[in-house]
């Protein structure tokens, strides 16, 4: 599961969704792996406005990466700064959460991640 995908995931429990604390989910006991993925500048540039930057910053910090700036780069900055593009590519597209848990900040439920696949099926008392 790529870090980029974590930016689009929240708790599966209905009652948590109305609370902003259910997003992003918090990685726990995370084992990361890095993939070799070809850089696709167009994809990254177009993805930029679709990201929740604040959540990405939280995730990145929680995974132990250097602090991201408070606000996202502009599209121009991203297009003109090769290092910035590569760094963002490496974080979003190449960094994978392979094992561990994703924890909801509201209900505390822990979703297991195994072999890069999170399982969001809920126990019956949470459905």
């Amino acid at each position: 599961m790529k870090v980029l995908t974590l930016n689009f995931l929240t708790c599966a429990v209905k009652s948590c969704k109305s609370s902003s604390d259910s997003f992003p989910l918090h990685p726990k006991d995370a084992e990361l792996a890095s993939d070799d993925v070809e850089v696709n500048p167009e994809l990254l540039v177009n993805l930029l406005p679709r990201l929740d930057w604040k959540a990405l910053k939280t995730t990145s910090t929680e995974l132990g990466f250097p602090q991201l700036p408070d606000s996202p780069p502009t599209i121009d900055e991203l297009q003109s700064d090769d290092k910035l593009l590569k760094d963002l590519h490496s974080l979003l597209m190449e960094t994978n959460l392979m094992e561990g848990k994703l924890v909801c900040g509201v209900c505390g439920h822990e979703y297991a991640v195994r072999e890069g696949i999170p399982n969001f099926l809920l126990p019956s008392h949470l459905v």
Binding site: N7, V13, N40, L47, R50, I117, L121
Partner: protein, 358 residues
């Protein structure tokens, strides 16, 4: 119809009172009971079956539906899409310039989708390194290939369509192909569509909102050998024959002239001579347990290699216009809809309609 058989059995018999609150509570309890029953029913007649037939099912699913392919190919670069009920992930990575995340209720299918996606990714990286021609890459990746970007097809997770873990209003599009017809009550089918709509962006001034594409099996299949047609039974158990893969001394005689088919739900049905049957009486817990036991027995048989086990999946066959009705009931607005080879499909968005419809 299943819904009508559920309700009477679920309603407490002593609820005949004029106490409104009591009635409401009874109704809520009935609904909860019905929903729990429907869930248990689907567990046996949908989820359990897919877990059991996953590899075989996946091997027969590699050709995309044309309407789905053209919907995906027409998404703008960088669009973020979801595939709810992604199965073996055949649509993930079909358009390499969009980012897609797939979910499915079946952990076995999700695992298959993930390894498939990893293979595509590795092929792409190696391909890029070796600078192999775009044409060769397309042949392996099965993509349209007008973009040089790597197709993202690894992003899959296990989730229930009625408890999705996606950030709301964040996706540009959602596809949900051959999934909603497995929900056993109309309430649940409409609820499933509501969940899809919740995933996509709402339209803003001058900017169209995100779109969902839903594809379901049609009741009207006049040109297919299944023999289903207008006015027929809509709730069916459709057999899937699990051909044993282990070597067999002599091939048991194949059924007359049945070719292995590549796409949706033909192989299972084709392999059976009957065209589906009405589902059993209301799925009480006992019945469900019994059916589960039956399912296990069928699997055990195959281990001895004597008989091909038959699994029966529940389907609701949509009649003309019903899918659009369900979209409206779910608070959506229909943009376009149509029929393609035994299926109804609809492209919809959240109300209000985007200013320009595509």
């Amino acid at each position: 119809m299943m819904a009508s058989t559920h309700t009477p059995s679920a309603l407490p018999s002593d609820s005949a009172t004029d106490d409104v609150a009591k009635l409401a509570a009874a109704a809520a309890a009935a609904q909860a009971a019905e929903s729990a029953e429907a869930e248990a029913y689907e567990k046996t007649h949908v989820h359990g079956v897919y877990e059991a037939i996953a590899p075989h099912f996946s091997a027969t699913r590699y050709k995309p539906w044309p309407a789905v392919a053209s919907f995906l190919q027409s998404r703008p670069p960088g669009a973020v899409g979801l595939d709810v009920g992604c199965g073996n992930g055949k649509y993930l990575g079909l358009n390499p310039s969009v980012y897609m995340v797939g979910s499915d209720r079946s952990a076995s299918l999700v695992a298959l989708a993930n390894s498939r996606g990893r293979q595509l990714q590795d092929q792409h990286v190696q391909g890029a390194k070796k600078r192999i021609t775009q044409g060769e890459l397309d042949a392996t990746a099965g993509t349209g290939g007008e973009s040089g970007g790597a197709a993202v097809a690894t992003e899959v997770l296990v989730a229930d369509g009625l408890s999705l873990p996606f950030r709301e209003r964040a996706a540009d599009f959602v596809i949900c192909i051959a999934v909603i017809h497995h929900m056993s009550t109309r309430t649940r089918r409409q609820e499933a569509i509501r969940h899809l709509l919740r995933c996509v962006r709402t339209g803003e001034a001058g900017q169209p909102g995100g779109q969902i594409l839903v594809y379901v099996w049609a009741l009207e299949q006049g040109n297919s050998r299944r023999g289903w047609e207008e006015g027929g039974e809509q709730d069916l158990l459709v057999p899937w024959v699990l051909k044993s893969q282990q070597k067999q001394p002599k091939q048991p005689k194949q059924r007359k002239g049945q070719k292995g088919t590549q796409d949706q739900d033909t192989s299972g049905v084709a392999a059976s001579n009957n065209s589906g049957e009405a589902p059993p009486p209301p799925p009480a817990a006992a019945a469900a347990a019994e059916a589960t036991a039956g399912l296990t027995a069928a699997t055990a048989k195959s281990d001895q290699g004597h008989t091909d086990p038959v699994f029966k999946r529940y389907y609701h066959l949509y009649r003309k216009g019903e899918l659009e009705e369900d979209v409206l009931a779910a608070g959506g607005a229909v943009i376009t809809s149509g029929y393609e080879r035994d299926n109804w499909w609809v492209v919809a968005a959240n109300e209000p309609l985007p200013s320009q419809s595509t």
